[in-house]
């Protein structure tokens, strides 16, 4: 189960809307071992693509150094799908490399950049196996 504050869900949804039709991506870091997503870090999609996302390699190094210095880990790794459902694609599964992270998918296929509904779902992706998990929203 992913336990997360509502404002962080809203922040991911807002980022996904803003970057639509390209995929948006980012991380929510939290204290090491806590499993608690706290610090919202939107990243640039270096691929600037509606079907692919990738963190820029220099940004990636900076991000991991910073989390290391703060004793944080990537609790949530999120990205958007802009034309398909919020479910990990084959590519998502093959590149997933943080077994401890919650992979959050946000779909903007209905709302686009507008105010319509966004679909937000959370998954574990470990050794190529996808397991959906419930999201518990807390204040």
């Amino acid at each position: 189960m992913l336990t997360i504050r509502g404002e962080l869900i809203d922040a991911m949804a807002a980022h996904a809307r803003a970057d639509h039709p390209d995929e948006a991506c980012g991380v929510i870091a939290g204290p090491d071992g806590s499993g608690r997503p706290e610090r919202f870090i939107p990243m640039v999609n270096a691929a600037r693509s509606p079907t692919f996302y990738e963190f820029d390699s220099a940004d990636l190094l900076r991000l991991y150094r910073e989390m290391d210095d703060r004793d944080e880990e990537p609790v949530v790794i999120y990205h958007s799908h802009t034309a398909t459902e919020a479910y990990p694609s084959r590519t998502d599964i093959s590149y997933a490399s943080e077994p401890g992270a919650h992979y959050v998918l946000v779909s903007t296929r209905e709302c686009g950049s507008g105010d319509g509904p966004v679909e937000v779902r959370s998954f574990r992706i470990i050794d190529g196996v996808v397991t959906e998990e419930p999201i518990e929203i807390v204040a």
């Binding site: 990738e54 990636l60 190094l61 590149y95």
Partner: protein, 90 residues
């Protein structure tokens, strides 16, 4: 030339859980071969026939080795090598 190598979470099962290990080699390719001699299987996760795997980033000090010399990048005593899998998908 011993260099410090930072291992990402997903590869720590190869290093017995160690986050930082030491590797030796005059260049990155030889350093990876050295790591593989002690942590068998790790090289396979980093390189393929084409060279460094597309979705693995390796940095020498602060520079992505793709912008240096790839596997031929010279590693000096005391350098720091960081391995980070790309965060990517579709």
């Amino acid at each position: 030339m011993p260099a410090e190598v930072r291992i990402p979470t997903i590869l720590r099962p190869y290093t017995g859980g160690d986050k930082i290990v030491t590797g030796e080699g005059v260049d990155l390719g030889r350093l990876i071969a050295d790591l593989d001699s002690r942590y068998p299987g790790i090289a396979e996760r980093l390189v393929d026939e084409q060279g460094l795997r597309r979705f693995v980033n390796v940095y020498l000090n602060d520079e992505d080795v793709r912008f240096l010399g790839g596997l031929d990048t010279v590693v000096a005593d005391g350098d720091s090598v960081t391995i980070l899998p790309a965060v990517a998908g579709g």
